[in-house]
């Protein structure tokens, strides 16, 4: 048993990245080390068919590596060498290079310990929220998600542990990294470019992981509208950015696993897209129009009233044709938004509740910002399934939006109860 997670920094987020690497395989576990409370030790009983990144994790966790001496690098022979992963917040200074680790990952063999230890250290903050870019084969800046960074560093660690380090080990680690990128369905990195930096906008999945997984591309019109509301309105001041930083911390606890599961399961992907993501995008756009008085973001440019009535009636028509229980969806999602895990209700909603519960910590922002508006959407659709006038539907949508926003965080800009 070789792989350990440092309790310094944010071990939960590191574990989340490892969970993504193994493809959300519940064969992953951890246990305390009786003689050393500064780390936890990973265990992994790989479920068959998990793929190459899980196979790599299995190798790292379940092999006792006798690291050979590598005189060219100054690495001593070490029996049963340990690999320790440390995930850090922004702004931690590395005493060995004299620089800030923000936006970076590094690995080294620490021979000051006896026996020597292989350390993989990486910043979990994505450049304090600005995002990390690397370069693809066409020279474009692409994102570098945390599970990819960790997988890259673990590649170096494996090379050291097995005596296969190369003088320039980056191309080999970047080749491995692309296997992880395949797992996440994101663009390959150019293995001959080791450039990177902080600050990426857009990009192939610079948007929400789950929304991108749902639509297959972050370039879809729906994703772009969500990004425009987020970056142009909601993140436009410090309060909004702070809210989003907090939301992202919650969101990142479960979204990589959910996105990975969606990529592996077409039916789940379609359900999440149709029952959760599309309604969320609709409600965000409706709220944006309601609060700001702006026209719709889509090229049609409808007013709030036109948008509310048109979209909700269309959704009701679709729900009726597909036999969806809009009222049941609204009720069950409402229970999840309130922190519950409904024993009854549509399978997807029960599964969603279990996903959120499995995180093991309260997720108040996720439940408010993501689940509650979807619940409100389905209640609106249920209203439109009854004989209602356009005016009544508009009133119902406005009331749902008002009730939702009234429970929102104080720092979210542009939200004022009752504003037209």
């Amino acid at each position: 048993m070789t792989l350990f997670i440092d309790q310094t920094g944010d071990p939960d987020l590191v574990l989340s990245d490892v969970f993504t690497i193994c493809g959300a395989d519940f064969g992953l576990g951890d246990e305390t080390v009786p003689t050393d409370s500064s780390v936890i030790q990973l265990t992994y009983a790989e479920t068959a068919g998990q793929g190459p990144t899980a196979d790599r994790l299995d190798q790292l966790v379940n092999t006792d590596f006798d690291m050979p001496a590598q005189p060219d690098f100054g690495i001593p022979a070490t029996d049963d060498v340990r690999i320790v992963v440390t995930g850090l917040p922004a702004g931690v200074l590395d005493p060995h290079s004299g620089t800030d680790l923000t936006g970076n990952g590094m690995s080294y063999v620490d021979t000051t310990s006896s026996p020597a230890v292989i350390r993989a250290v990486y910043d979990l903050s994505q450049c304090n929220g600005a995002g990390i870019w690397v370069v693809d084969d066409d020279g474009n800046h692409i994102v570098d998600p945390n599970p990819v960074i960790l997988y890259h560093e673990l590649s170096h660690s494996l090379h050291a542990a097995t005596g296969t380090l190369q003088a320039n080990d980056e191309p080999a680690a970047e080749t491995d990294e692309n296997v992880m990128r395949d797992r996440l369905g994101i663009t390959h990195r150019d293995i001959n470019s080791h450039d990177g930096g902080c600050g990426i906008t857009g990009g192939d999945d610079g948007g929400c992981l789950v929304v991108t997984a749902a639509y297959g591309s972050s370039y879809s019109g729906a994703v772009d509208r969500l990004r425009r509301v987020r970056d142009g309105v909601l993140r436009a001041d410090a309060g909004g950015r702070e809210f989003f930083d907090a939301l992202h911390r919650e969101y990142y606890r479960f979204s990589p696993q959910l996105a990975a599961a969606m990529r592996a399961d077409g039916r789940l992907r379609a359900e999440v897209r149709d029952l959760v993501v599309a309604p969320l995008l609709e409600m965000v756009e409706l709220a944006y129009c309601r609060v700001t008085g702006a026209r719709a973001l889509a090229s049609t440019g409808e007013s709030f009233a036109q948008l509310a009535v048109g979209r909700v009636r269309a959704a009701a028509h679709t729900a009726s044709a597909r036999g969806l229980d809009a009222s049941g969806l609204g009720g069950a999602l409402g229970a999840v938004a309130d922190g519950g895990s409904p024993p009854l209700g549509p399978p997807l909603v029960r599964r969603l509740g279990r996903w959120l519960d499995a995180v093991g910590v309260p997720l108040p922002l996720t439940r408010w910002a993501i689940v509650a508006p979807v619940a409100a959407y389905w209640r609106c659709v249920a209203t439109a399934l009854e004989p209602r006038s356009d005016s009544e539907i508009e009133t119902a949508v406005a009331a749902e939006l008002r009730a939702w926003l009234a429970h929102g965080p104080a720092t979210l800009p542009g939200i004022e109860e009752g504003t037209p």
Binding site: S38, D94, T99, M106, D110, G207, D237, R249, P364, T411
Partner: protein, 216 residues
């Protein structure tokens, strides 16, 4: 006078952490845009994990030369001296080296390319960087596998010591540079302005005269 000048520095404490959720307050009027964009301002952070409250440091620079300068706008390191209440901000890699402490064998190291702001001749720009509220330094602990992060609080800040690298062309590495070559290039790039100025929002009782040095 030719070259790049620092004309003003400020340090702002982070806002209070909001209690969530609660009844919303009326929206505030957004502040007018600054002269130049702040590259470290979060842009698209789906994975903005582990972000924490930060000080906001603004550095107003003026280009008194006749050519455009490309000024580094990424925090590369930082420090704080409580005796002089001086916050040191490195927008320069003068400290950078390959990890080389005794007993440390680097096997993976990725010097990042800095964000850079173009400041045309005769114009000013505001560079904004976030700095943690404490100096956090990684260290090992004998007898245990886990590392430790030592924290030294920052504040109050009366002076800002800036290391600021600029050049008449932007730094753009070729893609396949080995790490140690890129680290050296970054360390030696362009001109580094070194200057200590008062924090205009909390100046010392006896203001520090600007003490500027340049190194090529």
């Amino acid at each position: 006078m030719n070259g790049l000048q620092i004309v003003r520095t400020t340090v702002t404490a982070p806002p209070e952490t909001p209690a969530l959720p609660k009844t919303p307050a009326p929206p505030e009027t957004p502040a007018p845009p600054e002269t130049a964009a702040a590259p470290e301002t979060p842009a698209a952070p789906e994975a903005a994990a582990a972000a924490r409250p930060q000080l906001t440091v603004t550095i107003d620079v003026r280009n008194d030369s006749t050519e455009t300068y490309h000024v580094w706008a990424s925090r590369r390191s930082y420090d704080y001296d409580p005796a002089t209440r001086t916050l040191t901000v490195y927008l320069a890699d003068v400290l950078r080296q390959m990890p080389q402490s005794e007993g440390i064998v680097p096997i993976s190291y990725h010097p990042r390319t800095p964000a850079q702001v173009a400041v045309p001749a005769g114009q000013t720009a505001t560079i904004t960087v976030a700095v943690p509220t404490a100096v956090r330094t990684l260290s090992s602990v004998p007898g245990q596998l886990g590392l430790r992060v030592d924290e030294r609080p920052i504040g109050p800040v009366e002076r800002v010591e800036c290391y600021l690298t600029y050049a008449d062309v932007p730094y753009q590495p070729t893609g396949d540079l080995p790490s140690h070559v890129k680290a050296r290039q970054l360390r030696e790039w362009g001109t580094t302005l070194h200057e200590t100025r008062p924090n205009d929002l909390n100046p010392p009782a006896e203001p520090t005269a600007p003490d500027a040095q340049e190194q090529e």
